[in-house]
Symmetry: C2
Subunit: 330 residues, 2 copies
């Protein structure tokens, strides 16, 4: 074994540049030969052939107490809700509808039944909102509360939207408002008063909304790591560049409130904060009016450019490179 | 709130009789209305309609370090292998073939890349053995190493076998030998020399074997909690009784070695030990020879009886009630 090789083997997962680097490392070590796997690791969901008109979408999210949530801040219902909404967001971001969820959890032995029941109330409330069924689970003991939801959805083949479908010249749009999750988190961390619901009770867009958007859009992704990171993913997968106009980003009122109180930038919350679970999509200019006639809760924030132009953020007319956002291992 | 109700809410999940009680508690709180859900919580897998000839099978298992495995005993490859084999066993126990897996893991930041790579080598080796693809994953940070695999398989509608399909008069059979997992564990715990591979490197039966068995069998389940527990599940779901003849149970050599060294009972390992990942099935007597012509690695250990006869274990001609096995929360 060479010294370099040994050094790499002794390296820690915390050293290699985050979750995406780990996933990439694992993807590269496997060749998927199953022709039914349309898309493997690398998008919000894996995509599997179901029949000639329909693909299955599969996604999983694991939430660890005191890393993803604290019981000091979250009610049990909010923990359960966030677990479901974060997974639903991955399904709808590809144009699909969530159908069937399977939950695994590790529970400390001292967990109260009341906590368990309220957690499930939150899970079921979000499941009902999005029309999905919880079909199975595995509960086990552990020192920490760890929750995993694997969610299976379906998408019409013609409505499948990925990170790789952006085309030069497309407009870049976001639904709703951004920065509310990080705004809420900053309020919680600092004890600042205000609306923390964007962090504690995030809501995924519905599959009905995603269907309408998908019918007009090219690429689509959800905001789980901040707008900057999502735009970078689109550009990387679509082999394009992008320009985002910071002043056009629709800021959530809670983000503005928190940022003002803490002398921070609400734009930073939107760009690098994550977990807003809004949709980012690219759309040909000619489709914008048609979409707006059916769904108008979106804002144009930029444009897809040539790969050679890179990814840029324009602030008050000044162009700078778009840096990426939050990562669980950074 | 009544005093009784408050007492119940303050109860701990460790108090209410284990994992099955928790799952039952959660199942009862939800009515699944989706007609595509053929079987929800309650069998080895959930069963979902795919097309008129095919159902999807979905199962999940979570493994927590120092509860399910210790890195003192397991190599990283063995941890990864066990994660896949335990899930594959749930799929094949219903007559299906594993197809697509999605892995979530919480990793302590000090986890080495070498550990991560070797873990995946174990995962991929078992995936190749069973012909399944790992299609996605979520990695996140946590204080403990926690692994979850959700596995999606397929079963021909005509080959679907459940815990509920046993009929009075069926013979009860098990594949291979039992007690090897608990035998290996007891060797590890006591420092006794011998073959620990039944605990460290369990192997699920293949889907090809399960197909052959399913074509002749009625009910089927895998041995994840010991023969006694699996037979009890079959009886509960099939509304039958059963009698098991202890002397007919095929004991693994490693179980016998460990039990002799430790002055314990190898039959107890088989009945209450769990994680052998063999198949327990019930079969009409007239089908036994036909099955044996195609697959003969099984042993008759008892018979399905009327519900009114309960579940019994016959030891040297003396009949006693069959008590159940290991539970993660006991």
């Amino acid at each position: 074994m060479t010294a370099k090789k040994r050094e790499e083997e002794d390296a820690r997962v915390g050293d290699i540049g985050g979750e995406f680097a780990l996933i990439k490392r694992l993807t590269e070590s496997q060749q998927i030969t199953d022709p039914d796997v349309i898309i493997g690791v690398g998008d919000d969901c894996a995509v599997i052939y179901k029949d000639d008109d329909t693909y299955l979408l599969v996604t999983a999210d694991m939430m660890v107490e005191d890393d993803h949530f604290s019981r000091v801040w979250y009610t049990p219902e909010q923990v359960g809700g966030k677990l479901v909404e974060s997974n639903v967001s991955d399904i709808v971001s590809m144009g699909g509808a969530p159908r069937h969820g399977i939950i695994s959890m590790s529970l400390p032995a001292q967990t109260t039944l009341s906590f368990f029941d309220r957690l499930y109330e939150g899970i079921y409330a979000s499941a009902r909102r999005h029309g999905l069924s919880i079909i199975g689970g595995d509960t086990t003991r552990g020192d920490n509360l760890v929750l995993n939801l694997t969610l299976i959805g379906e998408v019409k083949r013609t409505l499948l939207r990925t990170r790789a479908m952006a085309r030069e010249g497309d407009l870049i749009c976001v639904t709703g408002t951004l920065g509310k999750s990080m705004g809420g988190l900053r309020m919680l961390m600092s004890g600042t008063g205000g609306d923390r619901s964007g962090h504690l009770e995030p809501r995924a867009r519905t599959w009905e909304e995603a269907h309408v958007i998908a019918a007009h859009a090219h690429a689509m992704i959800d905001v789980s790591d901040g707008l900057a990171s999502e735009v970078a993913h689109i550009c990387e997968q679509s082999d394009t560049g992008a320009v985002i106009y910071r002043g056009m980003i629709p800021l959530a009122p809670a983000a503005v409130t928190a940022a003002e109180a803490l002398h921070e930038s609400a734009y930073d919350y939107a760009l690098y904060g994550g977990e807003d679970f809004e949709l980012v999509f690219t759309i040909p200019e000619r489709e914008v009016d048609a979409l707006r006639a059916e769904f108008d809760d979106f804002t144009i924030v930029g444009r897809v450019t040539a790969r050679s132009e890179g990814t840029a953020l324009v602030i008050d007319g000044t162009r700078e490179p778009l840096r990426e956002g939050f990562d669980h291992f950074l």
